[in-house]
């Protein structure tokens, strides 16, 4: 069942927010205001938003090194996100984490992670906690096709299936693990096919079709809440940018492949659906929505730039939960 028009607008707003955030983060990274590395989520927005829109407050997610989109879709604060990228003390992690470690436990976002497949078992533990709490909450693991070849994927899904944990395993299959094509690494082209080995549903969806993602996630969430265990959802998608936004980053992908995927952009797809099929969103309304988003991003950058860097000696804070002796 399709979400109602109001919710569809909200989905569009969130996807465009992710797009604009990533555009700005990339620009500021290349200009030197953001340090380390940025992995842009542009092109994959429908996965994060399609799944998170099927969740409720109290449900939990865990992300990957490409985590900004998941944060925004779960409702993270743009100011605190941008301040973290800028390395400021007002950031989500007080400047300790940066792009690869943004987390917001208050909204159930258990963190981005610099290790491919590193988060899968951690969020499975959150699913175990939800099951023991008996509160009907679910937990979602986002990961890529690369992580699906790693041990924690298989170990965690086996346990979740055996224990019927309220889990969604959402594979963002963007066809490349860093610079290596999944055609070289996946024994079977469909990650979802692996679900059969664990006796759970494995669903393949067009990851650039937000309704398809949302519908699959909604069904999986209902199954999880009903105590029927995990679902593996494979979203076929594509990142527009290279593995990282580092100017020296290699780009092994053929140009025509990239261009073909850009034509499947999930944002105009939803916009066209709203406008043409439902008469819901005029060009003026869309432009207004985009202007509001850009204003918020600009404000987030302003907040980050106006925020102080942490004091150097704060590097010794939070090593443990109690204060250092």
């Amino acid at each position: 069942m399709r979400p109602n028009p109001e919710m569809q607008r909200e989905m569009l707003r969130q996807m465009q927010t992710i797009r604009r955030f990533e555009e700005r983060a990339t620009k500021d990274y290349i200009e030197g205001d953001i340090y380390g590395v940025v992995h842009s989520y542009i092109g994959e927005e429908a996965v994060a938003v399609g799944v998170c829109s099927a969740l409720e407050d109290g449900d939990k997610i865990i992300s990957t090194h490409r985590g900004h989109g998941h944060c925004i879709a779960k409702g993270a604060d743009l100011d605190k996100m941008m301040a973290e990228l800028y390395g400021r003390e007002t950031g989500y992690c007080k400047g300790k984490g940066g792009s690869m470690h943004i987390a917001d436990f208050d909204i159930g976002m258990l963190g981005a992670n610099g290790i491919v497949a590193g988060g899968i078992s951690i969020v499975t533990g959150a699913g175990l906690a939800a099951q023991m709490d008996g509160n009907g909450r679910v937990a979602v693991s986002f990961f890529g096709d690369g992580a699906s070849n790693a041990g924690p994927f298989h170990e965690s899904i086996n346990i979740a299936a055996k224990w019927k944990l309220p889990m969604l395993y959402v594979c963002e299959n963007n066809l490349y693990a860093a610079n290596t094509a999944s055609t070289q690494t996946l024994a079977h082209p469909d990650v979802a096919a692996r679900a059969h080995g664990y006796g759970i549903p494995g669903v393949i969806v067009d990851g650039n079709d937000i309704f398809a993602v949302h519908e699959a996630a909604t069904e999986a969430v209902a199954r999880a809440r009903a105590g029927e265990g995990p679902t593996l959802i494979e979203c076929k998608t594509y990142r527009w940018g290279r593995h990282t936004e580092r100017p020296t980053q290699a780009e092994p992908r053929p140009g025509d492949e990239v261009e073909a995927w850009k034509k499947k952009d999930p944002i105009p797809r939803l916009r066209a659906e709203l406008q043409q099929q439902q008469g819901q969103l005029t060009d003026e309304e869309w432009e207004e929505m985009d202007r509001e988003i850009l204003t918020k991003i600009e404000a987030a950058v302003g907040f980050a730039k106006a925020s102080p860097f942490p004091k150097p000696e704060a590097a010794l804070d939070d090593v443990f939960s109690e204060a250092a002796p």
Binding site: G111, A129, M132, P152, N158, D318, S321, E322
Partner: protein
């Protein structure tokens, strides 16, 4: 006072803490029958042999309000879960800016003497000591075992409880009452005046035996048990060395970048302690080889009371 074994002390600590706090639960590849009977399969979970997964799950559950205890059995199996230990558990509180507490206890047996050969006889605690963000206990007596493991389970941070294979059947006095031993506080196991021997786990008992031998030779040996490897109680060690002017460290692990090296660095980099030293410090550790199987070979690789006694004589004769 009643006497129980080191292994029983650990089991009592776990059961008592599980009674005390309903948010505690255990995950391990084997469910201990008595524990399972008392607490049931929801809180005593026999997992698949998937250390990486259940170690990661313990972190996620800890961040979701629970207080998991993971038993890897032998430390060998912890290596299978190293990403979750090193990249996740030790750093997750820090790198997310202290947003959430992660109270999780990891248990693992270390050390040899069991004729289990190279993989299952290891003492790799120093590999974990340089992970800022992880506390490490390594008790040498049933009393310390029970008190330290209780502290570990009650701690709001990830704590590794290393437990000595050789001491599992070792008996000692343990009170019936609830008590804890604080993490980060060394214990003077024997007072002495001429030389400080800092000894770890099984080596504490070998050092105490060596001290008896040396006592008959007119040498007064002070034996210090750090009990906690991270954080190390440098103050107690320095104070003792300032008194005796001599230091020997005995460790069942190899010497290279080991706990023994860290203990000596903490002692000698302190100016007052350095000035008090009359002679060079010395280490009595395992030889630098994987642990072999045959008893003849295994006995040759591990340090023992005779080697400690010889080491003490060497330090004493140096001045």
């Amino acid at each position: 006072m009643r006497e129980i074994t080191y292994a029983q002390a650990g089991a009592e600590a776990l059961a008592e803490e599980m009674r005390r706090d309903p948010k505690t639960f255990e995950m391990s590849t084997d469910a201990e029958p008595a524990l399972l009977e008392e607490f049931g399969p929801t809180r005593v979970r026999a997992t698949p042999i998937a250390e990486s997964a259940f170690t990661g799950m313990s972190i996620g559950a800890a961040g979701s309000g629970y207080r998991p205890i993971v038993n890897w059995r032998q430390v060998t199996f912890a290596f299978v879960a190293m990403d979750q230990i090193v990249n996740q558990a030790a750093k997750i509180h820090y790198m997310f800016g202290g947003q959430q507490k992660f109270p999780v206890t990891f248990r693992a047996a270390v050390g040899g003497g069991t004729k289990l050969a190279a993989q299952h006889s290891q003492s790799p605690y120093s590999m974990f000591m340089n992970l800022a963000g992880m506390k490490i206990i390594l008790p040498s007596t049933p009393y310390d075992m029970k008190g330290l493991l209780k502290s570990a389970i009650r701690d709001d941070n990830p704590v590794i409880s290393f437990e000595a294979n050789r001491l599992l059947g070792f008996k000692g006095e343990v009170p019936d009452d609830d008590y804890t031993v604080p993490i980060g506080v060394a214990d003077v196991k024997r007072e002495g005046a001429d030389i400080t021997v800092v000894a770890i786990a099984w080596m504490v008992h070998e050092a105490l035996a060596a001290a008896e031998i040396l006592d008959k030779e007119g040498v007064s040996v002070e034996v210090i048990d750090p009990r906690t490897l991270a954080p190390l109680d440098a103050g107690t060690i320095r104070k003792s060395v300032q008194k005796t002017g001599r230091l020997l460290v005995a460790d069942e692990a190899g010497p290279t970048a080991g706990a023994s090296a860290e203990i000596i660095a903490l002692a000698t980099e302190d100016a007052e302690t350095f000035r008090a030293l009359k002679v060079p410090v010395r280490r009595v550790c395992a030889l630098n080889a994987p642990i072999p199987y045959s008893p003849v070979l295994e006995d040759h690789v591990f340090p023992n009371r005779q080697r400690i006694a010889d080491g003490i004589r060497g330090v004493m004769s140096a001045g």
